[in-house]
């Protein structure tokens, strides 16, 4: 009951935030210089064609009116047409979002699990060479942008040791399974196409790791430091004094409270993955939303830009809510009411 109330309240707040976001994006989009119609049609396009397109996009009307058109479209799920792909933005989103989603989910899993495991090992072997190595490696992970990883992986697995495919979601000799969810791996399982599944799986590994490494290092560091923090808490002492074996203290009584900051950071990092994915998508020719987002940004494709950002904003907001829920589950002291 309390959870539901909390959810409703948070969702309402999120709508306000998304509305604010839409206003901002809209304004930002319109003040960015450059005539989108002209850009899309080329230098030689006759003025009438350009004018027609401008009219179609309501570019000649006052900002408020433009916003009105745009917003009422959004309410009806119509994000307008993309100048980049020439088709309704919503079609683009439904096509590209699953690709990114699949990548990000996979990457998020790696990030969470990998970070956690590294953090735990690092705590376990605190102040030994294992710990130091993990710490330094995770520093490197945090400070190296994901596109550098992407390039390095591509070189390693393209030149030196070509065990993974390096391009796209699926090898060209295979065709996509019937579309149910847009998630290739899931669709291929539904269709029972093992080869497709396996092929898709091997395609996703490299980009996912490249994308995950930064966050993974971050998680590892956070997990380590919160575990070390909690290690000196009185309740750990009392668990010891009450004769609970070290192993259990470590993996149960220490781990759970220490997960709280990790989860919080994970939530944010996960949302950020969507934004960070673009360079990785570019390098791996991944037909995803982030790459689409950057392309449309560079082409000043207003409708598409707004839609992408609203979508990413919604994901961010959603992740925040999910994070809060998980944290409140981990930490009973946290009251959801606020």
């Amino acid at each position: 009951m309390r959870t539901i109330k909390f959810l409703l309240k948070r969702l309402a707040l999120s709508l306000i935030v998304l509305f604010g976001l839409s206003v901002m994006i809209f304004i930002l989009g319109r003040v960015v210089p450059g005539d989108p119609a002209r850009m899309s049609l080329g230098a030689n396009a006759p003025q009438e064609t350009v004018d027609r397109m401008r009219q179609q996009m309501h570019l000649d009307e006052p900002l408020v009116v433009q916003y009105g058109y745009w917003f009422s479209g959004i309410i009806q799920g119509d994000f307008g047409k993309s100048l980049y792909t020439k088709r309704p933005v919503i079609v683009d989103l439904t096509e590209f979002f699953p690709a990114t989603l699949e990548l990000v989910i996979f990457s998020g899993l790696l990030m969470g699990l990998g970070g956690l495991i590294l953090g735990i090992i690092s705590t376990k072997f605190n102040n030994t060479w294992v710990d130091n190595i993990i710490r330094i490696v995770s520093y490197l992970g945090v400070v190296t942008p994901s596109f550098v990883f992407a390039i390095i992986f591509l070189l390693i697995f393209g030149y030196l040791w070509p065990i993974f495919p390096t391009m796209g979601r699926l090898s060209q000799y295979l065709s996509f399974p019937p579309n149910h969810t847009g998630l290739l791996l899931i669709d291929s399982l539904i269709a029972g196409e093992w080869e497709t599944f396996w092929n898709g799986f091997s395609h996703i590994i490299l980009p996912a790791i490249a994308l995950a490494l930064g966050g993974m290092s971050q998680e590892a560091r956070i997990t380590r430091s919160s575990m070390l923090d909690n290690m000196s808490k009185d309740y750990i002492l009392s668990h010891r004094a009450y004769g609970i074996p070290e192993k259990k203290i470590f993996y149960k009584y220490l781990l759970k409270p220490s997960l709280i900051p990790t989860v919080t950071v994970f939530g944010l990092d996960f949302a950020v993955l969507f934004g960070n994915a673009f360079l990785v998508e570019m390098v791996f020719n991944w037909p995803g939303l982030s790459r689409y987002g950057i392309n449309v940004m560079l082409q000043k494709d207003l409708n598409a830009i707004s839609a992408v950002i609203i979508l990413l904003g919604a994901i961010f907001v959603l992740m925040n809510i999910v994070t809060d829920l998980v944290v409140s589950f981990l930490d009973p002291r946290i009251q959801l009411a606020d």
């Binding site: 707040l13 306000i16 935030v17 998304l18 604010g20 976001l21 901002m24 994006i25 930002l28 989009g29 003040v31 960015v32 210089p33 130091n132 710490r135 330094i136 520093y139 490197l140 945090v142 400070v143 190296t144 942008p145 596109f147 550098v148 390039i151 070189l155 030149y159 000196s232 950020v272 969507f274 934004g275 960070n276 673009f278 360079l279 987002g293 950057i294 940004m297 560079l298 000043k300 830009i305 992408v308 950002i309 990413l312 904003g313 919604a314 961010f316 907001v317």
Partner: protein, 291 residues
């Protein structure tokens, strides 16, 4: 009185240093950072070809592998990589400092106000605005801003700042919410202190520790973020050397002309790494326990 004050500071600095230096990595980080700063300041003196940091092109000697004359090789324009990297430390450091100088005060003040007036109108406005900005992926936000403004160092600072401030207001907000209920804040209220005094003299000093820690970590992030901006063509103008641009351009030359990307990338990593290590130390410095 003077000597009192002096011993008091000496003691404080000493204790902070003890906590900071307990972790050897932090000391290494600090040393590294100081070295990099020195290198940046002394760039014209320690680089073999200071001219190459400016308006210089010699396409004929471009893309030479590292050798005795060019320790880190030359780039495709025939400029000495080593000299350019050292000079590029200047805008990188400047960028970090300037962005933080913009972002921290703004974020902090907004966070202070929103936190102190939690539940009031101002709080809602500020925090929802913060959420809006947080909701945008920072890189995308920075991209959007940079595409409005000309790609210059100053403007990429502004762009990165726009994406960064909300993190500080959030951080400070959460701290203020708990600090404002401390009895020392309440005492000041009961005494009749002004809001300004309470916010800036009573509450703010107690928020500094996480702010400082976050600042050291973000310093590195700012540099990475500018590098990412350069990767899509937004950043400093040539011929000014910029680490991010060097990596972005060099990445296209991998692996054959590895030195063009690897050395600047390594420098970024070194710089950011040193700051992260310092950040850890700063956090230790502010923690109460002596363990």
């Amino acid at each position: 009185m003077k000597s009192n004050k002096f011993t008091f500071w000496k003691e404080n600095v000493g204790r902070s240093w003890y906590k900071f230096s307990r972790n050897k990595l932090s000391v290494i980080g600090l040393t590294l950072f100081i070295l990099l700063i020195l290198a940046a300041i002394l760039a014209p003196l320690i680089t073999p070809y200071p001219k190459h940091a400016g308006n210089f092109v010699d396409l004929i000697t471009g893309s030479q592998a590292p050798d005795a004359r060019h320790l880190m090789g030359t780039d495709i324009y025939g400029r000495d990589m080593f000299s350019r990297i050292i000079f590029a430390l200047r805008p990188a450091l400047l960028m970090g400092i300037m962005v933080l100088a913009i972002v921290v005060p703004i974020g902090t003040i907004l966070g202070l106000i929103a936190g102190y007036y939690k539940g009031k109108f101002g709080d809602h406005i500020i925090m929802r605005l913060t959420d809006v900005f947080l909701g945008l992926p920072p890189l995308i936000l920075a991209l959007a801003v940079s595409s409005i403004l000309k790609p210059t160092l100053t403007n990429s600072m502004i762009a990165v700042s726009v994406a960064f401030w909300p993190w500080y207001s959030r951080l400070v907000y959460n701290m203020v919410i708990s600090i404002k209920n401390e009895h020392y804040v309440i005492s000041s209220e009961l005494l009749g202190e002004s809001r300004v005094h309470i916010l800036f003299r009573e509450i703010l000093p107690n928020c500094l520790s996480p702010i400082f820690t976050k600042m050291t970590l973000d310093f590195g992030w700012v540099i990475i973020m500018t590098a990412s901006l350069s990767f899509v063509g937004l950043g400093e103008q040539p011929p000014d050397p910029s680490l991010g641009t060097m990596v972005a351009e060099g990445a296209r030359l991998l692996p054959d002309k590895w030195w063009v990307a690897i050395y600047p990338a390594f420098t970024i990593v070194l710089l950011v790494l040193s700051l992260n290590l310092i950040g850890d130390g700063v956090r230790d410095m502010f923690t109460a326990t002596e363990e």
